[in-house]
Structure formats: C-alpha cells, structure tokens
Amino acid sequence: MHRDWCRGLAAAAAAALLPGAEAAAHGFAGDRFFPATILTDDPFVASEMSLPTVTLNPTQSDGSRELDLGSDLSMAITPKWDFTIGSDWAHIRSPGLPVVTGGTGLTTGTQYQLFINAPHEAMALAGLDVTWRNTGNLAAGAPDFTTMSPTIDFGKGFGDLPAALSWLRPFALTGNIAVDFPVQTKTNGTLNPNDVFYGFAVEYSIPYLQSEVKDIGLGTPFNRMIPLVEFALTSPFNRGYAGTTTGTVQPGMIWAGQYFQVGAEMIIPTNSLSGHGIGGVVQLHFYLDDLFPHGIGRPITQW
C-alpha cells in the first residue's frame, strides 16, 4: 500500500515537473504489452495509425479477387476515450468483367476504456462504430445504407498463471464481439440483415517470454516478435441470411518495435462462402503516442 502511495506521488510529481504528464503506454495492462492486431479490434484506447494495410483476399466463389488498400487512424481524446476513422480502397478483378476500383465506405467510431487490471493483465473497452452510406463506390462494395455497430473488445494475458506453467505465461488472448444494426432494413430491393461479428487473437509474446519468464537469448529482430493466430466470423441472423456465416483464420507474425509495428498474416477462408485458396495481409502500424509524445500523440485532455 505504501509503495502504491509513493508511486502515485511520483506520478503526480512527474506530471508537474516533466513536459508531458506520466501516462500508461499504449496497449499495456501491467507487465503485458498487447500489439495492435490486424483482423480483430484492439482492446485499448490509443493514438495510433495503420498506414497502409494491404490485403489480398482469397478468391471468391464467383472467381473474383479483391485487393484492398486501407488506412485507420485512432486519436485519444482523453486517456480513456478515443475517436477512430478508417477507409479502404478496393481493386476487384472478376473473370470477363472490367476491373472495378473505389472506396468501400467510410467507418468512424468512438471507444471508451472500461477497465485495465494490471495484476491480471486484463482490459476491456466498449465502442460504437458507424459505417456510413454512400461514402464509396457501390460497385466496389461500399454500402448504400448506414450501419451502427456497438462492440465490446477485451484482452487477457496469462502472466498470472502459476510458476509451474511459466512457459504458458507469454500467451494472451484478445477478442471482440459486435452486432451490426443497419439503419435501413431494405435498400434498392435488397434486405440488409443484422450480423454478429466475433473475433479472437491468440498471441505468444517473445518479448514477454524474455523479459518476464526466461531469457532464451534471442536477439534482434526475433526478440520483438509475437506469433499469433486470428479468427473472425460474421453471422447474419435474420432477413433470410441466417446460416450464411463467413470467416477467416489468419496465422501470422507481428514485429513490435518502439515506434511502429509490422504485421503479416495468411488469410484462410473458413468455408466456401468465404472464398477459396489463400490470401494474405501486411500492415504497417504507427504508435503515434510514442512518435509524437508531446504533440498529436497526446490525449487532448487528461480528464
């Protein structure tokens, strides 16, 4: 208790004396650092940016193949509340048809950090994403209806496992569940169903292994690598679309540096509705709070 009080006093003194206030670094819950995952939303509020995310999707059942170029920006308004904006640009080749290109729609969101539990390396946030109608090329997949998607994101590290299971302590699980609510249930004669989206990422952190459990002597660049597998499924549940679940499994690797991370994953469809063959995604992701700690990387207010 005394030590906690001293830390609190030190934090207050740091806030007063240093150019910027003491702040928890992005993606940390106690000893655990959670990288920004590619497929599933992150369970933490942060100022960060993905630029670019390049995705070559598996071939679809009609033979078409889509390449997406995406960018996302998240800006912290307070240490517990952020605002997000993202957009993709698609390049679609279909057999016997002209190439279609264009934006796939603008998505904005806001997120609030519900809690961070340091001893148990756990965190969660609640958010609301909005995909806006007519903000892209309909032929490239942009929607002609607005969709509201409340979401819960969570993360849990397993550093609190007993010493006998120490080699499992670098594991962590993140995930999110969201429900899509189209504002219009029918547009241009097409029904727009409600969807449930659920995604998980299972990670094994080499940095955690070497700094918390056992230094096995891995050097640069292997000491910053986090192998992971992501899963995501989308299940419509009404308006004639029930039973048409689609999804992907994405094994890959994230290299997390001091200012940015690089991620690469294979994309494996879970069923024929989701495509066939193998796709891939690569992402460059910047930690704006580390790149610009006294500028745009700081929350606007410390409330």
């Binding site: 934090a11 003491e22 940390f28 390049h91 070497q210 700094s211 056992k214 230094d215 700690p293």
Partner: protein, 124 residues
C-alpha cells in the same frame, strides 16, 4: 491507379517517421544480469537491468526480494548517470534461493512501464 495509391501510402508513412525526429518511446526491459529466469552459481553483488530507452532517475524504482518477500537490496536502485538506460540494485550477500525482481520505469517521454522476473542462486 493501384501503383499510385501504394506510392502515396509509402510516402505518407515515410513522412510520419521523418516528422517524428524527436520521438522517445516507453522503456522495455532489454536484458538483465543475472538473466531473467536464470540460475547463477554464486551470489551476485547486484541486479543490473538494461532498458530500451533512457530512464527518468527520480521516478524509476526496483526492488529485489527473497522467497519470503523480504528485501535483499543493500541500497536504493540507481540509474547509471553515464548510461541512463541502465538500472542497478545493489544486493546483500545472498544465500541460495529464488529471488524476485520488480521494476517500475518512467522513460524520458513520460510513459510508464513495469515488470517482474525471478532468478535463482544455486546451492553449493
């Protein structure tokens, strides 16, 4: 069109890195002596930790305790003034056993990080 989009994204990414010439990130533990999770044959005189960023000495702390939770440090943790990425905790003579290190670091960009690890001193 696709090539132009990719080029624009690459140019924007490079611009971000160039604009951030004064960046300083949170401090990760890079390595320690005794090494994390290691067993050493003799009692070390100190635990020394090296971090990936420079530390703020006034707000960076570390403790070393035995299996009963009692401190075995012979003095306060000190950031090396010549190498501000190095944090050292001097130790009392240690009998064989397992020891826990707990650190709390404030890097020069004011981000906090913390960590824990153990090392063991082997019996004769």
């Amino acid at each position: 069109m696709l090539g132009h989009r990719l080029s624009a994204a690459a140019a924007a990414a490079i611009a971000i890195v160039l604009a951030a010439s004064t960046a300083a990130a949170h401090a990760f533990l890079d390595h320690a002596s005794p090494a994390v999770g290691s067993t050493v044959p003799g009692a070390p005189s100190a635990v020394t930790m090296w971090f990936t960023q420079q530390l703020e000495p006034a707000f960076t702390t570390a403790t070393v305790t035995d299996a009963g939770g009692k401190s075995v440090a012979s003095g306060a943790a000190q950031v090396d003034p010549k190498d501000p990425t190095e944090l050292r905790v001097p130790l009392k003579p240690l009998p064989p056993g397992t020891y826990s290190v707990s650190w709390h670091a404030l890097s020069v960009d004011t981000h906090t990080t913390e960590g824990h690890f153990t090392f063991a001193v082997a019996g004769r």
